[in-house]
Subunit: 328 residues, 2 copies
């Protein structure tokens, strides 16, 4: 049982103590802890790592403060296009979806792609058609919209501590998203409303089998059908027999660095341990000016959570007691 | 000038001498040679590797026998969704498009993504919107359709030597694609009409800068918005300062093996040379039951073209004289 371990993230980026109220921090930590417990409940009863990461990420998707599932950000034209990937390291199988709308839990859909198709990645309308065939739960705009409003309200309350950070694009988004703007909307954005919000989980089960899962609402105001690293095997998500990795950060740099697989490559080809491999991967990310972090676990239950941003919502659990962190 | 080298592929798979007429083989070799010359003309006048791979792949896209651009296969619902990726190794930048229709040269659109956006991958309608904004040439169905008919005719002519290989899905495709079936259609498929058709190029220029480009029409009869490895950095296409790689084969396994980047990782972390690294990567692909091959070049102008399938349309040029091969 000593090898069982789970680590999660809820996004990395500019997370400053000065931008956070005690109440808001408590809420974030509650969301992280709920996810850790959900995943641990699977591992603790001898369940598989793939079930554990699905449970942990589903919990994060359902929690409105993180940019995945409920809480996904809006694209340039006011839609919520979500991406997710899940990978079973022991079987070297993966399933991913990109640009799906209205699917309640994209990570569950990704798992169905892995289990029910010969493909790895389904995108757009085709992925949604597959979701309907499989009978996965859909939610209407209200489900997402209401929570987004709630989130706006939370931050409006924290008015005095939220950084002024309005770019012209963000103002344009507020106009185009057909959300009735409040005075707070016009002056404040959310501290995590950056291209850096993503959730993910990695786990090692009692058999030493590894799995990784990542889910995101993408970039606020993204255009032209941009797809980031999250749904792409080896880039934002990867698992094999050596390690499992989930990334969060500025996706384009995670793609160029082949970031998730790079941790595994440094372990198997260079002989590094998990901690050093993950650290070197983030050092490389820094060298190409990419911002973000990874969570990683090996088959011995070692956990690494390196990042180069100002903060990363993160946590791990090894013995039933959840540990969560936000800042450096 | 000794470092300049270019290698190309036109797809890998079940290519048997017994399925080929002398005339058809000559046509394939002509297509490969035209591409090699197009790329070499760039390198020979001191041009960059990124311009060379774009020229070589554009030539392959325009050639109707290969499954990219003109000649792209049909999806389950009778459409041609094309993917492409180009990567500049010296700058570690990349651009990709997935599921674009009617774009004459997807590789040129991928380069515009690299040069004109902050993103790496644009997909579907968004990518097409971007293409229209950039004013890239579009072609109507006739451009593709006519050539597909021409291709069918070529193979119908070779009736006696084309393998009988009709799956129920392929018959269904013929019914759904609204192509008026000829007797030949009903009994024969093209020897390269497998999920294995793709074109690609890798190059090293006189400055030792590396680049890779890959373009595909995808899988015949693909469903649900399937995206393969071709447009994905590190999976079907990769270039850095160490090597440039383009893959062709059963895309899902190239994704799971992170195949293109794996060559670079074996060189930089394991200290292998290009030939050994590419060979080991294909051995790994074989071990996970993936079929296909890669073309790879390093900054010294060494070239590797390993594959595990029965054949791979391929070629290279180092001194102005094109060399082409099809079988093992």
């Amino acid at each position: 049982m000593t090898r069982a371990a789970l680590a999660i993230h809820g996004g990395a980026g500019t997370i400053l103590r000065s931008q956070m109220t005690p109440d808001l921090e408590r809420e974030y930590r509650n969301g992280l802890e709920a996810s850790l417990i959900a995943g641990w409940n699977v591992l603790d009863r001898g369940g598989s790592s793939i079930d554990a990461v699905e449970a942990a990420v589903t919990s994060l998707e359902d929690f409105p403060l993180f940019n995945a599932g409920r809480g996904a950000v809006f694209t340039h034209d006011g839609r919520q296009e979500m991406d997710a990937c899940i990978m079973d390291g022991s079987k070297l199988r993966a399933g991913s979806v990109a640009a799906v709308e209205h699917v309640k839990n994209p990570i569950k859909l990704a798992r169905l792609v892995m289990q029910k198709t010969q493909h790895v990645l389904l995108a757009g309308d085709g992925a949604i058609e597959f979701a309907r065939q499989q009978g996965v739960p859909f939610e209407n705009d209200e489900y997402f919209f209401t929570e987004h409003r709630w989130l706006q309200l939370q931050h409006a309350r924290a008015e005095g501590v939220v950084e002024l950070d309005h770019t012209p694009e963000e103002l344009e988004l507020l106009e185009e998203s057909e959300i009735e703007a409040t005075p707070a909307d016009q002056h404040f954005v959310f501290p995590n409303d950056k291209p850096l919000g993503t959730v993910g989980a990695v786990a090692s089960d009692i058999n030493g089998h590894l799995a990784a899962a990542t889910s995101t609402g993408g970039m606020t105001n993204k255009k032209f059908g941009r797809v980031g690293d999250t749904p792409l095997v080896g880039l934002g998500t990867y698992a094999d027999e050596i390690c499992a990795v989930s990334g969060t950060g500025h996706g384009e740099f995670f793609m160029l660095g082949v970031t998730a697989y790079d941790v595994s490559a440094r372990m198997k080809y260079k002989g590094l341990d998990l901690i050093d491999a993950a650290r070197e991967t983030i050092e490389h990310l820094t060298s190409i000016r990419g911002e973000g972090g990874v969570i990683a676990v090996d088959s011995h239950g070692n956990v690494a959570l390196p990042f180069n941003s100002q903060g990363m919502y993160r946590g791990y659990i090894k013995d039933g007691r959840p540990v969560t962190e936000i800042y450096r």
